[in-house]
Amino acid sequence: MSHISPVLWQFLVKWMTTFALFPPEASKIAPQMDALLFFMILISLIGLTIVTLLVVSFCILYSKERHPVAVQVEGSTLLEATWTIIPLGLFLVMFVWGALIYFRVFTPPANSMNIYVVGKQWMWKAEHPGGQHEINSLHVPTGRAVQLTLISQDVFHSFSIPAFRVKREAIPGRYTTVWFEPTVPGTYHLFCTQYCGTNHSQMIGDVVVMTPEGYKKWLDESTSGASLAQNGERLFASLSCAACHNARPDARGPGLANVYGAKLPLASGGTVTADDAYLRESILNPSQHVTQGYAPIMPTYQGQISEEGVIALVEYIKNLNSDYRIQQTLNTTDLLPESEGKPAPAVTGQAGKKPAPQGKVNP
């Protein structure tokens, strides 16, 4: 093999040993996606082979030497119908199958754990409910459905994990979600796949899939102090939201306990489900959807809270199961700086349940 240049040779060897058509399958959806991809590749190969075989054999059979005089053939309705209906049928199978997968990727199961991701030029910032932050990396446990709630601070980005076969746009001004269930521990690529300016190609990182125990350990080690909801509580106090949302009979704003997931009647008629996106909108553009029975007096907080702040508030409101916490907030507003040591809000548990120790999430 001496006539092949050594560099090229090296490359070929490297390629042969690492050759792969698909990235690792590290999530529950990955094998399903790959099954469809295999199906489509198979169909395409069959289609391509048919076309190629026909072309090649016609070229041989009817080349000028062999077949000097062409025989005019007008066409055939039967054939036209065949090659209209068969591809159409196959394409429709792909459509249905693909739609089912699309449906799965973008419908998070109810019990999934939620991680917030903020994209900005040019980094990814992930926020775990326990308050752990990470930049350009994401730690997730196996065996649990993980939902990402994404938002961008500036331009479109796209959060892509090829090994999981998922990808979702982070859009300025709006939450989007995607979910996955990691299956194989390991470190995988995280890319920003939506062109976002100069350092688009540097907006990359690692997704680290850990065993549940490993993940727990990681959470404990990388805690930053307050949980997201605690941060939210602090913000809620410092922005004096409780001036109106205090669950008192004379309160000017609606009570916020258990509002998450509820169907709210709107002043303009109709109802709306209070999901993450709705909570965010209510804080930044409150008059967009005015709740029935209230005046549109809530001020906008646009420009006053960072996306991370909004996330903290949303997380706080999501976890408000009783008015108890709010009233606590009201009482402790002036004690704010020291609220560090206060018991954390009931993050996932019921009101009155023993609060989780600081910086930890109730499992």
Binding site: L21, F22, S44, L54, L88, F91, V155, P162, P172, Y195
Partner: protein, 559 residues
Amino acid sequence: MSATIVSLPDQSTARIPKMNYLSKENGLLSWLLTGDHKRIAILYLISLSFFFFIGGALAGLIRLELLTPQADLMATDTYNKVFTMHGVIMIFFFLVPSVPATLGNFLIPLMIGAKDLALPKVNLLSWYLYIAGGTLAIYTMATGGVDTGWTFTTPLSTHYVNTNVLTTGLAVFIAGFSSIFTGLNFIVTIHKMRCPGMTWFRLPLFVWAHYAASILMVLATPVVAIAIVLVALERTLGIGVFDPTKGGDPLLFQHLFWFYSHPAVYIMILPGMGVISETISTFSRKRVFGYTAVAFSSVAIAVFGFFVWAHHMFIMGISNYAVLVFSLLTMLVAVPSAIKIFNWTFTLYKGSITFETPMLYTFGFMGLFTIGGLTGVFLGTSGTDIHLTETYFIVAHFHFVMVGGMLMAFLAGIHFWWPKMTGRMYPEKISQLAAVITFIGFNFTFFPQFILGTLGMPRRYASYPPEFQVLNVFSTAGATILGVGYLLPVLYLTWSLKYGAIAGNNPWQATGLEWQIQSPPLTENFTVTPIMDHEAYDYEWLENQNLAKEKSKEVTHAG
């Protein structure tokens, strides 16, 4: 003897006819002020080739940068400018006008038996607009470029980059109007200028394909124009229509942009499909199988092409219900292309096939377009699009359809009609070689990109994880071969202008009206209005015609 078409000096004349559209007057001004569709086509051909090589050189830079995983040849923002300008130039200044403005311009009047396009001045105006837009694009490139990607995604393009978005936008805007006027001119011409007897179903399929593409040019292009105007207003005044902080929706821009740019991909492919119909019929000496099906599939592509634009936005945050609808419609629009491929294949059946250069490119088109089109279906399937979108899979998809499809068709057409345009043959052997080189180089360049895409390599990346390097090296190597494949035709076609064999009227023994007149044609195309008295691709008619000619020659010789 049947009634027929006028033909001027016969191909037995071993000289190029003295009187022709090239020789008429020859000052620079006579070219720059010409109303002759054939001269305008030549003007386009020259200027298009120029832009293609600029775009190609930029592609060379892209491939060189991607030779190594690091961004070492140029800084990331330079790389971004390079691929943006590559995309902008290749799409708006090369591929959209490629076949229509050169071959379409040259041939449509000839094929339908007209003396010119309906609006010669508008035709010239189109070319000037094209040149103005192109000059502006080159100016933009020279003065710092632009780095938004050819899709100009907001709010990146409106608020977050400080490169020449405005001038590039203006360039595209102007080029857009050039394209609108070309399409408008074709539609009017095809409706109003057909010669007697030239009914709709006697039109060559080339004309049908251009008709369909023209509908798209006329109806879709204005929408991208207004989208660009709004971007410009947003950028200069901050009016807020696309600005999320002011309550605007950045996705609206993409709706408007893709409302044009999806139909635009059919503007790019349909004329190429027209070329393929002509070449495949001529070189298998058979009427195109299922003429009506092929004709209507062009129109079907044009019509359905309007309903699928949001398949470029599947994960961008449009409604999930919209995703379902647009995905379904995408499946429908793929079918007419399949119909065409199969009909072309069956045109070969019982033909008498020869393998001149245009035919080789035609085979290239059929294989590569099929691959490109089928991978388009992968992207149109909502589920798999999640994994494949914004990766090299897309890059491979659209280069397969655009370069493997349209560019091959363009080259097929240029070779096929070169004798008609210049009166001289290109050298056959070397151009067959060039076609083969192009095909090999193409596959080396872009096939690895499918694998890169499924592996997850994102597009528009100046640097990438090292494990993708091997495939990228293949790709770059392939691009070098491809570059040679494209340079060769420039050389031998130029050479043939002087030294090529005299072609005569109808070197391929093709049936179209354009082949029944002298090459190169007269300025007024037909001295007398022709009458069409047979179907398109009627090879028996042609034979009778030749027999008759022979006879009359014998008579004259005897007499």
